[in-house]
Amino acid sequence: MSSRLRVFFIDNAVAILITLLIICALPVAKLPASFLLQEILMRLGRDTFLVLALLLPIMAGMGLNFGMVLGAMAGQLGLIFISDWGIVGIPGLLLAMIISLPISAVLGWVCGVIMNRAKGREMVTGFILAFFMNGIYMMIVLYAMGSLIPIINPELLLSRGYGIRNVVGLDGVRQAFDNLIPLHVAGLKIPVFSYLFIAAGATLLIWFRNTKLGQDMRAVGQDRAVSASAGIPVERTRILAIMISTILAGIGQIIFLQNLGTINTTSSHEQIGMFSIAALLIGGASVTKASIPNVIIGVILFHMLFLVSPMAGKNLIGSGMLGEYFRQFVSYGVIALALVLYEWKRVTQENAARATLRGGGAA
């Protein structure tokens, strides 16, 4: 029994630690409950879809998809185009999604092919690939747009005549999803349609897990060699997992940005991978296992930390910056911790397996 309890604590170490932290920081931060609740409701709608995008690659044994940034870039390209063409409201957002779709599909395919060449180190490869593609994205957005790629609206362009401005306002589509079905409960605004959209995405994922392809992914995630001998096209399945993840990330980024209402052309996408992964891990997921409850709990806890720590820092030591550094430390630290726990477990299991081969004695 005690060993079971230990396993529970080790498996959920990150989530428990963060919850304790928030509980300690809440009274210090002195934020009004209604403000906190409103922010969390808003941010749930904003971020959850992005975090959902991480689930499939984990299932397929490819770890945390640091390459989801590629999808975010595709989503941003879609939004830049619809802002340029002046298409507003829901049709604008839907068109942005449609534009992002082929781009993120191609990027996801590229990502999958590259990851197949780096089996066993998908995460670091995806991480670097995100940086690399960021270079290409910058080249397109800052140099090709307005010169090679026609941009009609001169207000989007930098004063030099080509390249997109640093900040693109999404006035036409700002919170179009969030406000589609207006609902106010006790003075709190609830973005019903965004929630419905997320629910649809989650349902789709649950359904997908039980399809043939979904089962294949799970098998590939368990053991590549066994799956291959069972006739599952391993490489193709892995590529599909990453492609779907990238496409979902593209859609997720569009939902994220319609809530914020502005794009930071060169930086909105950069932190997305880190934020989403940290959120998922805080929610109790690991490198090999993640569920939809992990996503939702993670987004809530992560944003609680996001809101509470700068205020707590300010009230405790008189410097909001300290709290902000602390929050960033936690976000990076959580990812480090989760990766360490995962690799540690793997190494221990390997050693144990070797010990049993040697004759059962504990090494």
């Binding site: 060449r117 960033q328 995962y342 540690w344 190494v347």
Partner: protein, 347 residues
């Protein structure tokens, strides 16, 4: 024909492209009115600035820990060294040496802990190194605010608390190596003798280390762990030694960088400092599991050459500055290439 194909296969297509690209930059530079002597001088100065940090990649690659994306730990140790040195108020070579020595002490300490951690996660070092580096940088951000530094050149004036984001080393040990025995040829060419000498000296020390018994054992632990273990080598110990060495070289590297650059960059300054060093050694021909000093020298020259020449030539020819984008694509493309290639070689 076969020889050419073998050469490109060994050398690697991306590396070949980068070399050709750099040669093109150098040949077009004078034609478009770029001052070649001053550019060459810049390249050499930057090699002196960055060389030791690239060198810091070698021990961990050799011991099988992979690319040290956690170099920022060493950088943090070096930052502690230089801030403590300035706090003591020592100037000139004494101040510089204090910075180096204190940095080495912290480097050894951080490296030991970091090595212990990496020993528990064999096979997954690179990603963990990255995030251990990131989170340490953020933890140190808190430290820079909280630590009781007093020197007025370093702390914020007017009611701010903690250290400034950039601290000038002017009046302490700025250019102390760059100007040592430096000589000028013509008007624009300055040869930073001291910095390059220190770089070569440290490189020589690393070379000697890897030809001693201990160094060979470190390499053996990386090449074939089971064989090394069978020959009585304590692999975990070898790996810790390599990580400590890497971190200490990183600490030395950043102090040398600062004396040339003229500023100490605190807070999130060190966040991405590992990446240029990783890219440089890979451009030089290293892979995820093999690196030599030749790779360090060639890589630093090529990488810093591209970094210096692209903005100058592109600005002169196209009147646009795409250098940042090119740097991002080239360096990360190189890392990506190395990550995807090694597995095929190692099977």
């Amino acid at each position: 024909m076969e020889a050419i194909r073998r050469f490109t296969a060994d050398f690697g297509l991306p590396r070949l492209l980068i070399t050709v690209f750099l040669l093109m930059l150098f040949t077009t530079a004078p034609l478009v009115g770029v001052n070649l002597p001053s550019s060459l001088s810049d390249v050499l100065i930057r090699v002196g600035m960055n060389g030791i940090m690239v060198l810091a990649m070698v021990p961990m690659i050799q011991s099988g820990c992979g690319l040290n994306f956690g170099l920022s730990l060493g950088v943090l140790a070096g930052l502690l060294g230089s801030t403590i040195s300035i706090e003591t108020g020592k100037v000139g070579i004494v101040g510089f040496l204090v910075a180096v020595l204190v940095g080495q002490a912290f480097g050894a300490l951080f490296g030991y802990g970091y090595g212990k951690l990496l020993n528990r996660v064999k096979g997954g070092e690179m990603m963990i190194a990255t995030y251990v580096g990131f989170s340490s940088v953020m933890a140190m951000c808190i430290a820079w605010v909280v630590l009781p530094f007093k020197s007025p050149t370093m702390i914020w004036g007017y009611g701010g608390s903690g250290l400034r984001t950039t601290i000038s080393v002017e009046g302490f040990w700025r250019h102390i190596l760059d100007n040592f025995l430096a000589f000028h040829i013509g008007e624009n060419f300055k040869f930073p003798t001291g910095a390059l000498l220190v770089f070569l000296l440290v490189a020589l020390l690393v070379w000697v280390f890897f030809h001693l018994k201990l160094g060979t054992a470190v390499t053996a632990a990386g090449l074939n762990p089971s064989y090394a273990k069978a020959s009585g080598i304590n692999i975990n110990r070898m790996r810790i030694i390599s990580v400590m060495m890497s971190t200490m070289l990183g600490a030395l590297g950043i102090v040398v960088f600062q004396q040339s650059f003229g500023f100490i960059q605190l807070y999130d300054g060190p966040l991405y400092m590992a990446f240029p060093a990783v890219a440089a050694i890979l451009i030089g021909g290293a892979s995820v599991n093999k690196a030599t000093l030749v790779h360090v020298l060639i890589g630093t020259l090529l990488y810093q050459g591209i970094l210096t020449m692209t903005p100058e030539v592109f600005n002169a020819v196209l009147k646009i500055d795409m250098s940042d984008v090119i740097r991002v694509i080239v360096s990360n493309g190189m890392i990506l290439y190395a990550l995807t290639r090694t597995l095929k070689v190692a099977k």
